[in-house]
Each structure stands twice: as structure tokens, then as C-alpha cells.
């Protein structure tokens, strides 16, 4: 499992291999300069103390000491730039990979995955994984190279010196980190979850602030947040304890290695195998080489965190999208728009036919849609009404292929949509969904999502139909006005109408509007519906609504209850039938009747 994950991330690094190799070389040169500086300094002083025959013998070490003194800083600087740049490139790749994994899942495949958790995943896991290179993979590689360097210096002078150094180096570089990893494994693995919990509480605190303050839960919620913070710190403490112990033991091993090399060199000097002047140098070389070991315990501790994060990321990547990304076989190439990129929408009329659709949400007891059929001829207007939970929004999800039906089929111009790429299917529709999102960008940018090539005149016309002309004219910055996060600088009604304007701009043959006037005052609602119907052009309209007023203009009205069409017909027919539609209509009329004179119809005031 872990090996497979590691292979995956090495795969991520492969395109950066040039930078990685350069970084490794610079890493070795940096440590090597330190070794050279200290070892040569030690040798220089010892040799001087022994009063060489001529000072010329000291020229080489003197020049070497000066060279390494300068080179070390320069190599370190370059190494850091190269490795950090590689890390940030990796980060960008990870982010995009994560987004690409998420994209096919939204919205139906995300289920109840919580948003705060998502945020935490995106920022934390991805940022944890960026360390996979700099903190986890890079240090051991440099350490290995350094071990080779140390061995190359010491072995010719005495195998015992090299062995003592090698054993201490491996103890400090491999055994110690492994022990530390074991000690910190549990808290480290639990860290991302603890962060996720804290993040969920923080998101709730910020977004649910109205309720928290109104219910005087400020102190209680701060305490919950503090408790979650405390849990996080407890885990961090566990990790840090292991880190502190390894850090201390590492320093000890470094000193011991130096002492061991020094003491083992003593007999070699006495036996004449080693020039006395070199004894200080070899000891200091061993000491300096340990610089490469210092980041290793951190590397292994980071490995636990990285594996956990990449596991969670992979879990997301492996989730099955609710709708297969590529059309299965048949007419993928034949579809007129299938190959076209993104925002291009289909121009020209289209006929929509829905046959006996059935859909059941996972875990639900009864189907949300149960044998629904309808035909929307090119240019026709059909309304879908019914109580909440009757399956209206489910139908829209199926039409745009956020989900696929378990039975039945959807035909666009006679072609089964399951044979089309989901993006091609969406190119037929322009949608105002119940949760139409405005992006944290300017008004103009939000509108141009509907049609990137729309000119200002077109934007203005769409705003006019959406009853936003007056509002827009009053904006100091006009189309450049920032709408705020999720459009929250606008009122609910303004957001809704911007979404309508955006949908109108999209030159798709079929408009799907899910409660386009929700949250609007009655006057604006009426004007918007009138302007909308007048401005349809040749487009067909499928209107999902709970407002029955205005449905007289519809070619057909389908009344949905519990996933089935219980009545269908034109407004007048349905009113005459005295069924569910009539009851809903009376309820709606009743809502308005306080003042019979205003309505022109007999009202029963409660």
C-alpha cells in the first residue's frame, strides 16, 4: 500500500527530475563544503603545530579552507532555490490533480462530504504532500550521498574509522528516525483528522454566526473550538516529543561519532598508519558529515503525515463519479458538439424527450422519480409544479447528467443522452439551478460565464430582462463591481436575478429554470416572468416552480407528486379538473386574499 503510494508520488516528481537531480547535487556539494572546511581547518592547525619544513606545504590546505568557506554558503543558497521551486511546482501539480479528481464528483458524487472538510483537505493535505519531496524524499537521498563521501574520506585512512562513522551515521540516519516514526506514528496519523474537526468547527462558527450569537452560544462554541484545538495540540505534542528525543539523540550520536573516530585514530597514529596531523581532520570530517542526517528524523515523521494525506486524497480520486466521464461507445464522435470544449453551447432549436425516468437516491426507501415522461418540443414552454420532494430538482439533475437514471431515457433531438458526453449534453441547456453559485469576482465576469464572448450591450439586455437594469445603473463600478464571496455582497434577490441574467446570456436552445424568482418581491417577480417569456426567442423553456401564477402562458403543465406525474394539461384544464393543481392554486390564491377586491376572485379568509 505504502509502496504503491510512494510510486505514485515519484510519478508526480518525474517531470521535475532535472530540478530534482540538480538539487541533490547542490545538496551534496553543500554538505561536502562543510566537511572540507572543518576537516581542512583541523588538518591545517595540526600541521602548523607540527612545524612543517616549509610553509609551502600549507598552501593547499589554506586555499582549500578559504574556498570551502565561501562555497558552502553559495551552494546552500542555490540548493534551496532549486528545491523550493521544485516543491512549489509539485504543489501546483497536486492542486490541479486534486481539482481534477473532485470535478467529476461534483455535485452528486460528493454526497455528504463536508465543505469544511473539503477546505481542510485541499489546503492541508495538498500542502502536506508538497513536503513529500523537500522533507521526505530529498533528505535521505542527500544523506546517502554524504555517507558515501564520508566513507570515501575515512576508509583509505583506516577501515575502522569508516566503520565507526558508518555505523553511527546509519544509527542516526536510519534506526533513530525509524524509532521516532514508530513513536509518533499514531499522533501523526490522527493529525489530519483533528485538523479537519477544528476546521469544521471554525467554518461553522463563521458561517453559522447568526445562530450562535442569537442563541448566546459564543462562549460554548469558543470552548468547543478550544477543545478541538487542545486535541490538535495534544497530537502535535506527541509528535514533538518524539522529534525532541530524536533531535537530542542525533546530536549525541554525532558527537559520539566524532569521539569514536578520534579515539580509534589514536592507535593508527601510534602505529604510523595515519599521519599525526590528520587526526584532527578525520574527527572533524565525521562531525561535519552529520549535517546531512539532521533533517532525516523529520523526514520519516513527515512520511506518516504524507501517507495519511495521500491516502485521503486517493480515496477521493478513486470515488466513482456518478456519471461516467466519457460516453460509452456508440455515438460519441457522432454527437455534433461532443468534441467541443467547455463553454461552447449548442445553437439552434432542440427537442427534448423524457421517457419513463426512474431514479432512487442511494439509501432512500422510495424512488425520487418514478416513471416520469415528458416532451419539450423546440420552442415550447413547459412548467413542472409540485410540492417539495416531488422530484422536480432530481429531474433537472438527470437532464444535465449530474446523475444518470436507473431506468428510462432522455433523448435530445432523438439521441439518447447516455450516448453523449456529459459536457455535450450540458451544451443543450442553460440552467438556473436552486443553488446557482456566484463567484468571488466582478459582476461582468460572473455574467460572462454564460457567454464569454458577450458584448456589453448583450449583458445590459440580459440585466434588463432580469429586472436588474435600475440596480446596475446605480452601481458606481458597473460591471466591474465585485459581488463578494458567493455573491454575498448582493442581496438574495439580486443574486437570483444575476443568475437568471447569466443563464439568459448562454446561447443554448433549452432554458431550465428552477424557481427563478425565489426570494423576489412580488412586483419584481411578475415583471421578471413577463420579460423572460417575452425574451425567449426561439428557445424552449422548462420551468420548475411552486408559483402557479403566470402559468397560463405555458403550453403544458406537469404536476408532480412523489416522483410521478399526477396531472398534466394547460392551466385552464387543470383548474377545471379540481385535483392537486386546483388545491395548490387555491392555497396560493388564499395566501393573497386578505382583500377580496384586490384579487377579483372570491377568497376564503381564514
Amino acid at each position: 500500500m505504502e509502496r504503491r503510494l510512494l510510486r505514485r508520488w515519484i510519478g508526480f516528481l518525474w517531470p521535475l527530475r532535472g530540478q530534482v537531480a540538480l538539487g541533490l547535487l547542490l545538496g551534496l556539494l553543500t554538505v561536502g563544503s562543510n566537511v572540507g572546511l572543518l576537516a581542512l581547518s583541523g588538518y591545517l592547525i595540526a600541521a602548523s603545530a607540527l612545524r612543517p619544513a616549509t610553509i609551502l606545504l600549507l598552501w593547499v590546505p589554506i586555499v582549500g579552507v578559504r574556498f570551502f568557506g565561501i562555497a558552502r554558503g553559495v551552494f546552500r543558497y542555490l540548493e534551496r532555490l532549486v528545491t523550493h521551486d521544485a516543491t512549489l511546482r509539485l504543489l501546483a501539480r497536486l492542486r490541479v490533480a486534486f481539482y481534477r479528481a473532485l470535478e467529476p464528483l461534483a455535485p452528486a458524487g460528493l454526497g455528504d462530504r463536508r465543505q469544511g472538510d473539503l477546505l481542510s483537505r485541499m489546503v492541508q493535505d495538498v500542502e502536506t504532500l508538497q513536503n513529500l519531496f523537500l522533507r521526505v524524499l530529498y533528505p535521505p537521498a542527500v544523506a546517502l550521498l554524504t555517507l558515501g563521501l564520508g566513507w570515501a574520506i575515512l576508509a583509505p585512512r583506516g577501515l575502522r574509522l569508516a566503520l565507526a562513522f558508518g555505523v553511527a551515521f546509519l544509527l542516526a540516519g536510519a534506526v533513530l528516525p525509524a524509532l521516532a516514526h514508530l513513536a509518533a506514528r499514531r499522533p501523526a496519523a490522527a493529525l489530519p483528522r483533528a485538523r479537519g474537526e477544528l476546521s469544521t468547527l471554525a467554518v461553522d462558527a463563521v458561517r453559522g454566526m447568526t445562530e450562535l450569537v442569537a442563541f448566546s452560544q459564543e462562549a460554548a462554541w469558543s470552548r468547543r473550538l478550544a477543545a478541538a484545538g487542545e486535541r490538535l495540540i495534544r497530537l502535535q505534542r506527541g509528535v514533538r516529543r518524539a522529534e525532541a528525543a530524536t533531535g537530542a539523540l542525533l546530536g549525541l550520536l554525532q558527537n559520539l561519532a566524532m569521539a569514536a573516530v578520534l579515539l580509534l585514530a589514536v592507535p593508527l597514529v601510534r602505529q604510523g598508519h595515519l599521519p599525526a596531523a590528520e587526526i584532527a581532520g578525520v574527527a572533524l570530517a565525521a562531525l561535519a558529515a552529520f549535517e546531512a542526517v539532521a533533517p532525516l528524523p523529520g523526514a520519516l515523521a513527515g512520511l506518516g503525515e504524507s501517507l495519511e494525506a495521500s491516502r485521503r486524497l486517493e480515496e477521493l480520486e478513486r470515488a466513482t463519479p456518478p456519471v461516467p466521464e466519457r460516453s460509452s461507445g456508440a455515438g460519441s464522435g457522432a454527437a455534433p458538439t461532443a468534441g467541443l470544449a467547455g463553454s461552447r453551447s449548442r445553437v439552434g432549436p432542440a427537442r427534448l424527450e423524457v421517457r419513463a425516468l426512474r431514479y432512487t437516491y442511494p439509501g432512500a426507501a422510495r424512488p425520487a422519480l418514478d416513471g416520469l415522461s415528458l416532451v419539450l418540443e423546440a420552442g415550447a414552454r413547459v412548467a413542472l409544479v409540485g410540492p417539495s420532494g416531488s422530484g422536480k430538482s432530481t429531474l433537472l439533475d438527470l437532464l444535465v447528467r449530474f446523475r444518470d437514471p436507473e431506468e428510462g431515457s432522455i433523448l435530445l433531438d432523438g439521441r439518447d443522452t447516455r450516448a453523449l458526453d456529459p459536457e455535450a449534453v450540458r451544451s443543450f441547456f442553460s440552467v438556473v439551478a436552486q443553488e446557482s453559485h456566484l463567484f468571488h469576482a466582478s459582476l461582468g465576469e460572473n455574467l460572462r460565464l454564460g457567454n464569454p464572448r458577450a458584448g456589453e450591450a448583450e449583458l445590459r439586455e440580459a440585466l434588463r430582462v432580469a429586472q436588474l437594469e435600475g440596480w446596475w445603473a446605480g452601481l458606481a463600478e458597473g460591471l466591474a463591481t465585485q459581488v463578494g464571496e458567493a455573491g454575498l455582497r448582493l442581496s438574495g434577490g439580486e443574486r437570483r436575478r444575476v443568475a437568471v441574467a447569466r443563464a439568459l446570456l448562454r446561447p443554448a436552445p433549452i432554458l431550465l429554470l428552477d424557481e427563478p424568482t425565489a426570494g423576489l418581491d412580488a412586483l419584481t417577480e411578475r415583471r421578471l416572468m413577463e420579460a423572460l417569456l417575452a425574451g425567449l426567442g426561439g428557445r424552449s423553456l422548462l420551468l420548475v416552480t411552486h408559483r402557479l401564477a403566470g402559468l397560463e402562458a405555458m403550453d403544458e403543465i406537469l404536476v408532480l407528486a412523489r416522483g410521478r406525474v399526477v396531472e398534466r394539461g394547460r392551466h385552464a384544464e387543470l383548474l377545471g379538473r379540481r385535483g392537486l393543481y386546483r388545491r395548490m392554486w387555491e392555497l396560493e390564491q388564499e395566501l393573497l386574499v386578505e382583500e377580496p377586491a384586490l384579487l377579483g376572485a372570491p377568497g376564503q379568509s381564514g
Partner: protein, 601 residues
């Protein structure tokens, strides 16, 4: 490079830990001197006196002891440093959360929620390195080198002078380049916060992006944003690493210079090997504390930027003194949400009075509400009506104490809201917001927010009253069903009814509602209206209403226009008057008549 004074104030309660870290560090420095001295002695004997291993047993044992002691000290100081940072972080996180809540929904709405969340999480976490490593290291970097140099002078004054001259150059370089780096770090922090806000935005908007065929393409936008971030960060790092380069260069070059100088004087015979080697061994130790400090400089500027953002938030004035809100909220017995002290009796008998209230949002051109006066008697139900932007939400926020009037005042129970205490007042009000927020947790937990001690029977009673019993029973785990952050799985009407149940549980004499029937279909609307009627019975209420069905349940209508009260009275009276309200009310009938004409035509 200076440490934020506000942050220092937060460290004060844990200064003993800081002291401990510094003392342990100093002791470790002294042990480094001992180790160098012992090592120099050993090498000296081997090199110049031809000593063998047996003669070195005692210094070797001493060396071992010193090395062990150093390891112990390093371990202890790490742990103390972690505790230091942990306690400050924990204290700051709680304080920040409390303060954000004290700023309240109306004020915090001005900030991007993603950024606030990021500050609360990442911002506080960034202080870990800053407090736990950088701060103690700052003290050690100032002390340890001087102590060590003091041991060098008696042995070789020339090396001592070299150290003394080069040492101050290190902080000088850090300061010189650090200014640049900290500026860039602030940019990087802003970029990171923006990036995370951008991500949340993209994730939330993914369905919309897909509907517009932009889902795939957005990956490029994410890539571009990450790339911009890389550009900004690398620019920071190129400068930030320069200071590290200067430090490394100075430290290793000085070591080289000292080594060569020692060698030349050894040749001249003015120095013993033992002294020279001792000084050489100490050289790296002398520069080490400053180099460590330099390596933490980058992290420290990030931490400083984060702490600036945290204190910026903490220093925003809350509408009410925090103690007042928190203390009154705490004092309340959770099981009895509507206590009946003398003040509360006043609230029941005298009602709520707005007296020439004015409020302007920061940065707004005209006041949201101006010269607004009205009174609501106990038990009276008042509708607040008006076109979009008339100031209805502001009135609700003022009523709830989310905002504080800049002129005029709100009186409750005959006393100024300031005297009553905003938490005591809020305990008298149940709120049903326009878009009720459902928290991560079960249905029961969401309900108990309104009354923490409520038993299960009370919860069901409230659900029944809110017309929510049926659908909650149908949920897979009933009361224990977990709700998503956005209340996933519930329809708008169901969420609204949960909010009504919450208000019911509150058992408060006042009710405040914002467009309670928006976004509902007629059937849900009927259910909500019924629930509302039950909730309204026996309570005073202020209801922002867009629908006649709601207005009809209320006693009196206040009509707002551009922040002012323009009409007031009963539905009949206002319709007869033919003013703004009449125009609004007539609009309800419009679509039926208008569309009917066209449909038939």
C-alpha cells in the same frame, strides 16, 4: 525582525517557560565549551606528546558525560519551547474565536469567511514556529555567542576580536535583508489566504461551473493561481534566502579566516596547539545560534504576518464589550432560557422601543437606517415590509444587538439595551433567520443550540409544533441523523421548520423572523405558516415579511423605505391609503391577471 509587542504581551503568562528554554540553552553553551576543551586536550596529547589510548581514559569518560548532558538539555528545551508555543496558540485561538463571535454576524459579514477561517486555523498554527522556535532562539542568539567569546579571549585575543567584529554583522545582514523579506512575506500571506478563498469558491461553485461547461477548464485557473503563488513565493524566497546566504557566508568565512590566522601564528610559535584547536572547535558553536536564527527567519516573517492579521481582527471593536456578552450568556442557566429577574419582567410588560435610531455601515455612502422610531408592545406582532434595500435586515440586526446604533437607542423593558445587557436581551428573543444554518452534528444537537439542556421529549414537542415531526421521524437515524454543513438532504422548507423548532425550544417571549416563507412551495409554505401561527401565539414578534399570508398573522405593519419608516398601520388601513404598501400588496395579484390576459389572448 522586531517581535510584535501585542504578541509579547500574550507570552507574558508563560514567560517562565521562555526563561527555561533560554537557561537550558545557555547551559548547553557552557557544555560546548567544556567539550571543546576536553577534545583539544585529547588531540594535543596524541599529537604532541604521543599519548596512547590508556592515557586518554579519563578525558574520554568526561567527554562522554558532557555529550550526554548536552543531549538531555537539548531535549528539555525542545519540550519547553513546544509548551510555550502551544499555550499561546491555544489562548489566542480561543480569544480570536470569542472575538469573532463578539463582532457578530453583521460585522463579520464584511470579511470573507474563507479568510476568517484561514486565520483562525492556519494563522494561529503559523505561530508555532514563531513562538516555539524563533522567539527563544532570538534570546539565545543574543546571549550564547557572547558567553562563548568570553572563553576565547583569555586564550587568543586576536580570534576573539575576529569573532566580536563579525558577530554583529550577522544580525545587521538579517535586519538589512529582513525588511525586504518581511514585506514580501506579507504579500505571500495575503496570496495564500486569497488562494484558499479561491479554492473554496471554486469547490462551492463546481456544479455551476459544470453547468456552464467550464468544469474542466477551471483546472487551468487553479493551475494559474498556483503558479502565481509560486511566482510570489519564489520572489520572497530569493530575498529571504539571501539573508541566509549572508549568514552562512559570514559564519563559514570567519571560521576559515580564524583557522588560517591560527595556523599562521602557530607557525610563528605565539600560540599553543591546544589553545588554537580549542578556539577552532568553538568557532562553529559561536556562529551556530545566529545561523539557526537565520534559518528560522523565513518562518518567522510568515508568523509575524499571521500575528499581524490576528491582532488586526482582535483590535476591531466589537459592538458590545465582550465581558458583557459573555458573562451574561454564561450566567444563564442553560435549562431555563427565559429567566424571570426584575429586568425580564420589565421586558414582558414594557416592550421594545426604537428611538431615533441611525446606523451607517462602514464605507457606505448613506445610512442604512436613519431617524427610525417605533415601539412594539409585549405580545404585539409587527410586520416589517419594504422594497429591497429598505433597511429591514439592518433593523433586525439592531433589534438583536448584532449592530449598535450610532445615534439614538434601543430600549427594551423601559431600559437602554446597554443597561439590560445584550446577552440578557438575546435570551428573551428567538430568531428564525432567512436561511437557517444547520451545524455539523445531529438534528438533536442542532436543536439544543437553542436550549442546551433540553430533553428528548422537549425536542419532539418542538418538532411537532414546528410541523417537523414527520420528516425527522423519517430520517434514517431520527434525532441522531447527522446534518451536513449546508443541511444536505433537507429541503428549504424542512430546514425552515427545524429553525422554527429551534425557536420554539428557545421559549422566549419575543420572536424575530426574516422572510420565513421564502423559497417554499405552497404545501411547505402552508406547513410553515401553521407552525408559525403556533409559534407566534402569546409572543411579541418582529417579522420581515414578503407575503400576505405572513402579514395576515401579524397585528401591525411597519413600512420601510430607504432606511426610514414611511407608513404604519393595519393591512386594511395601508391598502386604503394607497401608498407604498398598497403598491407592494397589489403586486401579489399581478402575475395572475397579467399572464391570464396574455395566455387567453
Amino acid at each position: 525582525m522586531g517581535v510584535d509587542r501585542r504578541l509579547i504581551a500574550r507570552v507574558r503568562p508563560v514567560r517562565h517557560l521562555l526563561g527555561m528554554v533560554v537557561v537550558l540553552g545557555l547551559l548547553a553553551g557552557l557544555l560546548a565549551v567544556a567539550q571543546a576543551s576536553l577534545l583539544a586536550g585529547v588531540v594535543d596529547r596524541v599529537l604532541l606528546r604521543g599519548a596512547g589510548l590508556p592515557a586518554l581514559e579519563r578525558p574520554a569518560a568526561a567527554l562522554l558525560a558532557v555529550m550526554l548532558a548536552r543531549a538531555l538539555l537539548a531535549w528539555g528545551s525542545e519540550l519547553a519551547a513546544f509548551e510555550l508555543a502551544a499555550r499561546v496558540r491555544q489562548e489566542l485561538r480561543e480569544r480570536l474565536a470569542r472575538h469573532l463571535l463578539a463582532l457578530g454576524p453583521a460585522r463579520a459579514a464584511g470579511e470573507r469567511s474563507g479568510e476568517l477561517v484561514n486565520t483562525l486555523l492556519e494563522g494561529v498554527e503559523q505561530l508555532e514556529t514563531y513562538l516555539g522556535r524563533y522567539l527563544p532562539q532570538l534570546a539565545l542568539a543574543a546571549l550564547v555567542p557572547l558567553v562563548l567569546v568570553a572563553f576565547v579571549f583569555p586564550r587568543d585575543w586576536l580570534s576573539g576580536v575576529i569573532f566580536l567584529v563579525t558577530l554583529p554583522l550577522l544580525p545587521f545582514f538579517m535586519w538589512l535583508i529582513g525588511g525586504q523579506a518581511s514585506l514580501a512575506a506579507r504579500r505571500r500571506w495575503a496570496e495564500l489566504a486569497r488562494l484558499s478563498a479561491h479554492f473554496l469558491d471554486v469547490v462551492q461553485g463546481l456544479p455551476t461551473l459544470k453547468l456552464f461547461g467550464l468544469g474542466k477548464r477551471e483546472a487551468e485557473v487553479v493551475a494559474r493561481a498556483s503558479d502565481r503563488f509560486r511566482g510570489a513565493t519564489m520572489a520572497t524566497l530569493r530575498v529571504a534566502f539571501l539573508s541566509a546566504l549572508a549568514l552562512e557566508l559570514l559564519a563559514s568565512l570567519s571560521t576559515a579566516v580564524v583557522a588560517v590566522a591560527l595556523a599562521l601564528r602557530l607557525l610563528g610559535g605565539g600560540l599553543s596547539f591546544r589553545e588554537a584547536f580549542f578556539v577552532l572547535l568553538l568557532a562553529p558553536e559561536i556562529y551556530q545560534p545566529l545561523r539557526t536564527l537565520g534559518s528560522q527567519f523565513h518562518a518567522s516573517t510568515t508568523g509575524a504576518a499571521a500575528s499581524r492579521r490576528i491582532f488586526e481582527l482582535l483590535e476591531q471593536p466589537a459592538p458590545w464589550p465582550e465581558e458583557e456578552v459573555a458573562v451574561a450568556g454564561e450566567r444563564r442557566d442553560p435549562a431555563a432560557p427565559a429567566p424571570r429577574g426584575p429586568a425580564e419582567r420589565g421586558l414582558r410588560s414594557e416592550g421594545v422601543r426604537f428611538e431615533a435610531v441611525a446606523f451607517t455601515y462602514p464605507g457606505a455612502e448613506r445610512p442604512a437606517v436613519a431617524g427610525l422610531s417605533f415601539a412594539v408592545e409585549p405580545g404585539e406582532r409587527v410586520a416589517l415590509v419594504g422594497p429591497t434595500g429598505a433597511g429591514k435586515s439592518t433593523v433586525l440586526a439592531l433589534w438583536m444587538g448584532f449592530l449598535r446604533p450610532e445615534a439614538g437607542g434601543v430600549r427594551v423593558g423601559g431600559r437602554r439595551l446597554e443597561e439590560v445587557g445584550v446577552a440578557a436581551w438575546r435570551a428573551q428573543v428567538a430568531l428564525v433567520p432567512q436561511q437557517p444554518y444547520l451545524f455539523a452534528g445531529s438534528v438533536a444537537e442542532n436543536l439544543r443550540l437553542a436550549r442546551p439542556g433540553a430533553g428528548e421529549a422537549e425536542l419532539w414537542e418542538a418538532l411537532r409544533a414546528a410541523g417537523a415531526e414527520e420528516f425527522v421521524r423519517a430520517l434514517p437515524f431520527g434525532l441522531e441523523t447527522r446534518l451536513g454543513e449546508e443541511g444536505a438532504g433537507l429541503s428549504g422548507g424542512e430546514r425552515q421548520r427545524l429553525a422554527i423548532a429551534r425557536a420554539w425550544l428557545r421559549g422566549a417571549p419575543w420572536l424575530v423572523m426574516d422572510e420565513p416563507t421564502a423559497h417554499l412551495d405552497p404545501e411547505s409554505e402552508a406547513a410553515v405558516q401553521e407552525a408559525l401561527a403556533r409559534l407566534l401565539a402569546g409572543r411579541g414578534a418582529l417579522v420581515v415579511a414578503h407575503r400576505l399570508a405572513t402579514i395576515r398573522q401579524l397585528d401591525r405593519i411597519l413600512v420601510l423605505d430607504r432606511g426610514r419608516l414611511v407608513e404604519e398601520g393595519s393591512h386594511e388601513a395601508l391598502v386604503a391609503r394607497g401608498g407604498l404598501y398598497a403598491r407592494l400588496a397589489r403586486a401579489y395579484v399581478g402575475p395572475a391577471a397579467g399572464a391570464a390576459a396574455r395566455g387567453e389572448g
